[in-house]
Amino acid sequence: MTDSPEQVIQNVLADLPRHRGVVVDSPPGAGKSTLVVRAAAHIAATGEPLMIVAQTNEQVDDLVVRISDKHPHLRVGRLSAGGYTPPPRLLELAGVRVATRVQDLNDPDIVIATADKWAWISERVWPWAIVDEAYQMRSDKLLRIAGLFERALFVGDPGQLDPFSIVDGDRWSGLSWDPLQSAVSVLLRHNPDLPVHRLPVSWRLPASAAPVVSQAFYPFTGFRSGTGPGDRRLELTTGGMGTVHDRALEEAARSGWALLELPNRHTVRTDGEAVQAVAMLAERLLQRGAVASSEQGERPVTADRIAVGAAHRDQVAAIRAAGLPPEITVDTANRLQGREYDVTIVLHPLSGRRDATAFHLESGRLCVLASRHRHACVVVARAGIAELLDAHPSAEPVQLGVPVKFPDGWEANQAVLEHLARHRV
């Protein structure tokens, strides 16, 4: 039996002073932010200054709000670039100060900024740092800021999308400091003895999703759901009309998953029929007055609690153009990373494709799309993906000295597909 989440957090905090770096792997919704807030307060309590690194302005703002909410006595400095306008929710917070220069922050307990902003700071060293979303951070960014701290806690989700570049990085492959690798890969290759902890419980994913996502995308480490099979309920308060869309929603409400399968056909990426199906599902979900009950109580599934995910930007544009309420989030996997909704509707990356490319097979992409939901995930796909996977030529080039990454995209896709087949309408 694995340690309880609380025990893991205790272990992490206990390890902090013992090691120069501590890594915490956090599967989807496993309480990464909670851990960051806890660790921040823990370190701040020692009286030593702390810097926090996140990847986007949105993530930074989120952390500022969370820390300030939970620990109002802490003074938090939000460091930003020149063009940044802080959202109103930030300005309301008493202990928070926003500035573009460290010296204007008035020496707070905690300074938070994006990795890009930190890269411009110099001539000061913090005894502690927390690096959030460290698996999505490219190692060259870490190189620019690692001189700013003495010890650090690295937190992130190893199953999501890897960082990338618009240029070919073959010339660095196999190097332990390959700048295109994630911050954590490079850190661990140079410091293999650092402790790596794992948060064992997903609070987001329901009991219907955790085992699927865990087996497909975290085959060696695994995690479980924090809620039991009956703890999350999704109810459609108005009756359906027996259409495939309605039946898909009913299946999803019942089991947490649904695969709306369209006839097998090779299509362009912005497959109109599939786009229509996605839009119709979202529309019907709102019309049927879905209500989600969970350990957090009962609430209607409003448009802002629904997300639509796709692989490509043109697909996102086509879905948006299909006339969804603007409150529904429609985005690519890249941009859905780290977000959470009650219900997600996913256009399967391989739907309508004739050949799978490395892009389509990247396990992180499917992992993000299949793990954003608290209640249910509805996947829209054309039939034929199994045959497509069967016909996929597996002849990826192999670079010497580059550790093999698991899970394999093919296997992960196969595992998810097998599961979805049981929820086909």
């Binding site: 056909r265 090779h266 990426r269 109109g272 004739r354 030529p393 010497l400």
Partner: protein, 381 residues
């Protein structure tokens, strides 16, 4: 894997497909190549029936564009000899460093010294003996190289014997496959395509060894998924050893072998009298009329992609066929995929020009193509 051995119809059908042409043995390279285009029914049938695709392509007038330079062959042989000289002394030196071995001495078994017909049995008993040592009260800790072991693997109901151009290394009952290749590792890096090919081949050996051990009642996990790749370092002949993790290649191989056993489905769709027989004469020269053979092959569906040009002996034949058909496959997988369901060049251009009415389901690609055509015209005038 022996469970795959099947009697009866499919096997007979495959033999009929091959006819009087002698079967081409599946070597590790051929098995590894199964992964190159698993969606191609023509290739699956020809491979399943053990047909010499190179000979077939030659007879059809589309010889494969693969050849090996005598310089490369000489160099490869020289390098292998160097690595294996003095009972693999050089190899031992490298393995000691790479695997951090406490070994001073190493035994060397050249299985080739045994007569060819006994080699396979001999290999099995050597592996059995070595594997036993892990469970024995006093393990035989002496390291051993097995050179030219003859392994077998069941492919689509046939037992394939693998060309024994490898060395297996055993210490304390644990095995590593050693693959000697003559491409260079320069500053720690080698041609990724060449490494991938080596890894696929090595995975075949790992699987064959694991299967053998399993059949003998041992733990297949005794064979490491880390294979030792030995290549010349930098610009010299001095060998360097690198560990390559072949777990992914093993998974792919298992998938492909399972697929091979589903040939029945493909066979069912073929006319009963169909054969790819080359009808060789006494000297082995094919006598079957070329048009007849080409016609027989055209009854099976190929899935041509330009990538075949570097992997399949039949590539020029299939490319020619794709040209005759005006298939957009000619332009590559990406173009074909981008065109949605439009398979033919004429159809795609007709949609772009607006001279062709889109069929049901083609409205979107038609719109995209017309838009692209409008933009191209605007830019070119």
């Amino acid at each position: 894997m022996t469970g795959l051995k099947r009697e009866g119809d499919p096997v007979r059908r495959l033999e009929a497909l091959r006819g009087t042409t002698p079967p081409r043995p599946h070597d590790a390279r051929a098995i590894a190549a199964l992964a190159a285009n698993p969606g191609c029914a023509r290739r699956a049938l020809m491979d399943g029936a053990g047909i010499d695709k190179d000979a077939a392509a030659r007879h059809l007038g589309f010889p494969a564009p693969f050849g090996q330079s005598p310089f490369a062959i000489t160099r490869g042989n020289m390098f292998e000899a160097l690595v294996k000289a003095d009972g693999c002394a050089e190899l031992l030196r490298m393995l000691r460093e790479l695997l951090d071995l406490p070994v001073e001495e190493v035994a060397y078994h050249d299985v080739e010294n045994v007569g060819a017909h006994l080699r396979h049995t001999h290999t099995r008993s050597l592996l059995d003996h070595a594997a036993r040592s892990t469970t024995a009260a006093e393990p035989v800790s002496a390291a051993t190289f097995y050179d030219h072991p003859l392994l077998s693997l069941s492919i689509a109901g046939h037992t394939a014997y693998l060309e024994p151009d490898l060395v297996a290394f055993q210490l304390g009952g644990r095995f590593h496959v050693v693959e000697v290749k003559s491409f260079s590792v320069i500053d720690g890096q080698a041609d990724p395509a060449a490494v991938a090919a080596a890894a696929r081949q090595a995975a075949v050996y790992v699987l064959a060894m694991r299967t053998t051990l399993e059949e003998l009642g041992h733990d297949p996990g005794l064979v490491s998924h880390d294979v030792v790749l030995v290549c010349p370092e930098n610009f010299a002949n001095r060998p360097v050893a690198t560990l390559v993790d072949v777990r992914k290649q093993l998974a792919v191989l298992r998938r492909q072998l399972t697929r091979m056993t589903t040939l029945d489905r493909l066979l069912d769709a073929l006319p009963d009298d169909l054969t790819f027989d080359l009808r060789p004469d006494d000297d082995g020269r094919p006598t079957r009329p070329v048009a007849e053979l080409a016609d027989a092959l055209s009854r099976t569906t190929a899935r041509y992609a330009p990538d075949c040009l570097s992997t399949c002996d039949m590539c020029f034949f299939c490319r020619d066929e794709a040209r005759q058909e005006g298939a957009s496959d000619l332009l590559g997988r990406q173009v074909r995929d981008e065109l949605g369901g439009v398979a033919s060049v004429a159809e795609a251009l007709g949609l772009a020009d607006g001279t062709r009415t889109p069929a049901e389901g083609q409205e979107e690609i038609a719109r995209l193509l017309r838009n692209a055509e409008r933009l191209r015209r605007e830019c070119l005038t």
